[in-house]
């Protein structure tokens, strides 16, 4: 096979795996949007917060240590332990569940039946609050996240090279792990929603609130549940992106990359989030490879958004979204 074609294959493979990472973030949006019609602007910050909490717990950092030290004149920073990764992950999951509960109790409960734009504004507020809370709890320095996954290429060269067709395919180890974990996560979510009582209730709420109430489903419980799951998905995304490029503020901006994915896949479709992620991932890598040199490169920065714009014009509901039909 000609080298050019093999290189294109390598680019595609890398694109697919990058797409998985985008899909992970988009998934969190879809879950909450489907169940409650809320576009959760804070999803990206939730990923950041989850990753910060994970690192903090693992390193035994004292939460709010700066605040405590400033008020009481003490000098505490660390508990002096180092938790194993899985204990820290369980701890973080508990924190995200508590967060989900608090969001519903303190914010959403009071905004039931409000316009979507008001709920959207509330999540913008939530995003900034959570960002500040994260900084106050764990500090704003860039942290290294290590839960035993292969480190991203940005933090140390650790790559795999497959020798196929006499050509060395360069693939990031972390991307392979991310792909496997994302596949497991999606399978788990699908099984949960298809075969468990809570999953059935969740699908029911996503479909019709009134009907769900009439069969005895508590909307509030489902909303806490769905925010908790979105928190868990944010944690997984946070671990992947955090391992790739360190836990820092820019992590919360991955939410912006999820937007075109959602526009492509449809805001209400879980398969849509996956396929949308893959298309964006592959599309932006291939575009950079084929067209990039002609226009001076750096197309990855805008390709996804332009593609989303095209979709908005010709298929506003996305590939898998529910068709928007307005009856007159």
């Amino acid at each position: 096979m000609p080298d050019q074609l093999l290189f294109a294959m390598e680019v595609t493979l890398n694109g697919l795996m990058a797409g998985v990472m985008y899909a992970l973030v988009a998934l969190g949006f879809v879950l909450i949007f489907k169940a409650s019609g809320i576009f959760n602007y804070a999803q990206g910050v939730m990923a950041l917060f989850a990753a910060m909490t994970l690192v903090g717990l693992q390193d035994g950092q004292v939460p709010f240590s700066h605040l405590i030290n400033a008020i009481f004149g003490t000098d505490v920073h660390h508990f002096g332990w180092h938790l194993p990764a899985f204990v820290a992950i369980i701890g973080t999951v508990l924190v995200m569940v508590a967060f989900a509960w608090a969001v519903n109790q303190l914010i959403l409960k009071h905004l039931v039946n409000q316009e979507p734009i008001i709920l959207f504004m509330a999540t913008i507020g939530l995003a900034y609050f959570l960002e500040g809370l994260g900084d106050m709890m764990w500090g704003s320095d860039i942290k290294k996240l290590d839960v035993g996954l292969p480190q991203g290429i940005n933090l140390g060269i650790d790559e795999t090279t497959f020798n196929w067709f006499g050509y060395g395919f360069f693939i990031d180890n972390l991307d392979i792990v991310a792909t496997v974990i994302a596949a497991l996560l999606v399978t788990g979510l699908v099984l949960f929603s298809q075969y468990t009582k809570q999953g059935r209730a969740l699908r029911a709420v996503a479909d019709d609130h009134q009907a769900a109430l009439s069969v005895g489903i508590s909307l509030r419980f489902i909303w806490v549940l769905v925010w908790a799951i979105a928190g868990f998905v944010a944690l997984v995304a946070g671990i992947m992106w955090g391992t790739k490029s360190g836990v820092q503020f820019s992590l919360s901006l991955i939410a912006l990359k999820a937007l075109p994915v959602l526009m492509l896949g449809g805001f209400t479709s879980i398969p849509g989030a996956i396929v949308g992620g893959l298309i964006i991932g592959v599309g932006e890598k291939l575009f950079e490879f084929l067209i990039g040199p002609l226009v001076g490169g750096a197309t990855e920065n805008w390709f996804a958004y332009v593609l989303a714009l095209v979709f908005l014009v010709f298929r506003p509901q996305g590939l898998f979204g529910e068709k928007i039909i307005e009856r007159v």
Binding site: Y195, T196, K197, Q198, R200, A201, R203, A204, D207, D208, Q210, A211, A212, L213, S214, V215, G216, I217, S218, L219
Partner: protein, 272 residues
């Protein structure tokens, strides 16, 4: 015959028991609009109770009060001899009160089977672990619930569409599926909001038959709202008549038919 708590037997041999649900002086307001004004009536165990009245009389509001979608500003709801505190709709549903909606509220994206299965959510008690491992209690429950749902599907004669997504069904069948979902909860009290609205004669006959059979075979108490007077008179044991949020008649179909206020409300009355 209808006074007190005594049970009695109807002409067609069904036993009507004591009072199951009692509405006492219910008043419901939306801002300045009074939707229901000081209405009292009861529903007896095993009967088919109709609520009728012209458009905007407050019938659906009354059904929404019973099912907890609205909480009245004044008045008390008594269920099984106990005063009911203000409740959320899902709490009412868990007490054994199932309902259908005037404009059909089904899960459009799910199959007929899945829709009716959601009616059984209250019977699923297995823990998440057991469900995840698909083992023991969860498996047994799923089988039992599935059997109950299949029975309802047979009963409503919708075997051939059980796997069809509800969104694709015609209106009449949707109404039937919605009834099926309400039945799946094995309710003590079944509330039907215009179960026959928009149906043709044949579909109405089918639906009437199902309602009678549900009442007869499962012994389910039914409260329904209906516009078609012929249907109401044939189906129900007792009728409440509402007009402009007030109760203007209450009794057997024959009594109601001969009530002057009811005749005026339906036919209009000359103001001179």
């Amino acid at each position: 015959m209808l006074d007190g708590q005594d049970s009695y037997t109807t002409a067609d041999g069904r036993t009507i028991g004591g009072v199951m649900m009692e509405m006492r002086n219910i008043t419901l307001r939306f801002g300045g609009v009074v939707a229901i004004k000081d209405i009292s009536f009861d529903i007896r165990e095993g009967e088919i109770r109709a609520i009728i009245g012209p458009n905007g009389a407050g019938k659906s509001s009354m059904l929404n009060v019973i099912s907890g979608f609205y909480n009245p500003q004044e008045g008390e709801v008594w269920f099984h001899g106990a005063k009911r505190p203000p409740m959320k709709p899902y709490e009412v549903a868990r007490q054994g009160i199932a309902r259908t909606f005037q404009n059909i509220a089904l899960f459009e994206g799910m199959s007929v089977l899945d829709n009716i299965m959601t009616g059984r959510l209250g019977f699923m008690k297995a823990g998440l672990m057991s469900q995840a491992l698909w083992w023991g209690k969860a498996q047994k429950e799923e089988t039992e619930n599935r059997e109950a749902v299949e029975k309802i599907i047979d009963f409503l004669e919708i075997q051939n569409i059980r796997k069809t997504p509800v969104g694709r069904l015609p209106y009449g069948l949707k109404k039937r599926v919605e009834l099926g979902r309400a039945l799946a909860a094995e309710p003590k009290l079944l509330l039907l909001d215009e179960p026959m609205a928009g149906m043709n004669v044949e579909e109405k006959e089918d639906m009437s038959r199902f309602i009678l059979d549900v009442n007869d075979e499962y012994g389910t108490t039914i409260a329904l709202i209906e516009h078609d007077m012929g249907v109401v008179m044939d189906l129900s044991d007792r009728v409440v008549v509402m007009d402009y949020g007030k109760k203007i008649g209450d009794g057997t179909p024959d009594e109601v038919r001969n009530n002057q206020d009811v005749i005026d409300a339906y036919l209009g009355v000359a103001h001179d």
